[in-house]
């Protein structure tokens, strides 16, 4: 289905619900390990299995991380209580989930997108995760399954659910929100933010209305969004679906819909069961959570710079007013946590633009090795390149080696790889030989066939095995031509 252009008549209204797995060592209410990928049912105990007689006890570090998220999203951190959300499902070990209902830990915050648009954050509360289901049948999808298998390793893993206000008005902004939120979650240390692995799960609530209206249309919840790209596509699709429905005289039903990535559409999940009555009530096995001013203060003081602040700092290091291309590079560098490397290299004398470009491209491509790359080595390498001792090609090669080996001395590496700088004498001699061997081409070049510069540069490169500096060669050719 094609997406109608944003006409004057319709606008989409989007709110996002993000579930974020917290990077704790143990689960929310018990001492079982919070680990991904272990053998099934090895990280379980009476509490997270819901055995009769078990009781929950709250993980202090999970609270710390939840508070950091609240702080980073400019929320009020409030006295809070836990509640039971009652429903039957095989992955829910107690057939109720311990969550927070009418008194969440964090509320009334906001998140600013890179373009300056602010999205309100209604709440960010704590709750426990469910176990994992495997449907056994033809396709592995629930509809054709014959039976299912449950692994409770994930049961009880701490989650923070972040609910935005329905302030978003485009799929692009929804993506920007999710990307910015992910950066914030990683920056706080609360999560590794991996959508594809499920440590960050995004559901979208989408409705449409006539532009200029203040009433909300009926919304649908879209689930199964496993990437930012799916998020954008699904929102576009759903908005268009609803618009087409309404324009055709139909009515949007409030329901949950599943995004089918391969088919490129949302599908209704309406089952024959009635809507759930969760019968929320205060969790009697837990006591209220009211972090005191001292703890809130420590969280606030300990929060490092968020992505927005780091992008601004990087932009300033570049001398302000980055171009669009540079802005993209800045975003990529901060997203990967490489901004520290860049600013440190600039402090050590590396040219800022070059440091940014290399970080956004070459370092990003081998980001695992970045941790072992000292800013000083990075800076030294870039200085060698800027000073003409290494060509761009050679510089990238040395950088690749530094990243692979997790560090090293750029000058020594350059020598090892045979990238010694070419002396200007050597260049002169080599050029003499090449011109002598290609007199015809030289003649044409001198008469103005500029494109032969490439030919001669190539020949010089071949003869020097890439050691020559392209700019120097070009300069020398032009000088000789006169």
């Amino acid at each position: 289905m094609t997406v109608p252009a944003e006409t004057d008549s319709w606008e989409m209204v989007v709110g996002l619900e993000v579930h974020c797995e917290l990077a704790t060592t143990t689960k929310l209410f018990c001492g079982c390990r919070n680990a991904f990928g272990d053998e099934p049912n090895v990280n379980v105990c009476p509490v997270c299995l819901g055995l009769p007689g078990s009781l929950p006890v709250l993980n202090e570090h999970a609270v710390e991380l939840a508070m950091r998220i609240g702080e980073a999203l400019h929320c009020e951190i409030r006295p809070s209580t836990f509640a039971r959300k009652n429903y039957f499902y095989p992955d829910q070990a107690k057939d109720y989930q311990i969550s927070q209902y009418d008194q969440p830990l964090n509320a009334a915050g906001w998140l600013e997108l890179p373009d300056g648009f602010r999205v309100g954050i209604t709440r960010a509360h704590m709750e426990e995760d469910t176990g994992k289901l495997t449907h056994v049948g033809e396709s592995g999808r629930i509809h054709s399954a014959m039976h299912a298998l449950v692994d409770y390793n994930r049961s009880g893993v701490p989650l923070v659910e972040i609910v935005s206000e329905p302030d978003i008005r485009s799929a692009a902004n929804a993506r920007a929100y999710a990307a910015e939120l992910r950066g914030i979650l990683v920056a706080t240390g609360a999560s590794d933010g991996r959508m594809e692995e499920g440590s960050m799960r995004v559901d979208a609530n989408v409705s449409v209305r006539q532009a200029g209206s203040t009433e909300f249309g009926t919304r649908c919840e879209i689930k199964n969004l496993n990437s930012l790209r799916s998020l954008g596509r699904a929102i576009e699709y759903e908005a268009a679906r609803q618009i087409a429905l309404l324009e055709g005289g139909g009515v949007v039903e409030q329901e949950t819909r599943h995004w089918d990535e391969s088919a490129g559409r949302t599908e209704s999940l309406r089952s024959k069961e009635e809507a759930n009555d969760y019968r929320y009530f205060p969790e009697p096995d837990l006591v209220p959570l009211a972090p005191d001013a001292a703890w809130r203060g420590r969280v606030r003081a300990g929060l490092g710079p968020m992505p927005a602040e780091r992008r601004a700092a990087l932009g300033a290091a570049l001398g302000g007013s980055p171009t669009d291309a540079e802005a993209d590079q800045i975003r990529a560098v901060v997203d990967l946590g490489l901004d520290g490397l860049v600013t440190a290299a600039v402090d050590e004398g590396a040219p800022a633009g070059l440091a940014l470009a290399r970080a956004a491209n070459e370092v990003a491509a081998q980001a695992e090795g970045a941790a072992g790359l000292p800013a000083g080595s990075f800076a030294a390498l870039l200085s060698m390149e800027a000073g003409g001792q290494l060509s761009a090609t050679q510089s990238k090669a040395v950088l690749g080696a530094l990243l692979e080996r997790g560090g090293g001395d750029p000058a020594a590496l350059a020598k090892e790889m045979g990238f010694e700088a070419l002396g200007s004498d050597t260049l002169g001699t080599v050029l003499d030989e090449i011109i002598a061997a290609n007199l015809d081409e030289w003649g044409r070049f001198c008469e103005g066939e500029d494109k032969l510069q490439g030919f001669f540069t190539g020949e010089v490169m071949k003869a020097t095995k890439g050691k020559a500096n392209g700019k120097e060669v070009a300069a020398e050719l032009r000088r000789r031509r006169g």
């Binding site: 202090e60 429903y87 499902y89 299912a148």
Partner: protein, 109 residues
Amino acid sequence: MSPDAPDAESRAPLSREDVVYVARLARLDLSDEEVERFTAQLRTVLDHAADVAALDLSHLAPSSHPIVLENVLRPDEPRPSLDRDEVLAGAPAVEDHRFRVPRIVGEAP
């Protein structure tokens, strides 16, 4: 059934339909005879509770606990998990070291 929120005076007495709805929520199957009997019995209990429902206690906060404790926390340190074999030995059905259940109709809420 549409569980709207009637106030104390106008609330309808517990009906058969209420009992059927609530049994379904609780995953209990009742025979017709049980529905009749339970409706009558529950109505008696709720009638008895009418004295409480009618009290004006708006000046009091509900107490979900008889104790006043706050911020009970534990350190983020691992404790031994259960032995998987012992856990699965008590399970009604096991496959591939997982708990096996009949097919599930409907996505999780």
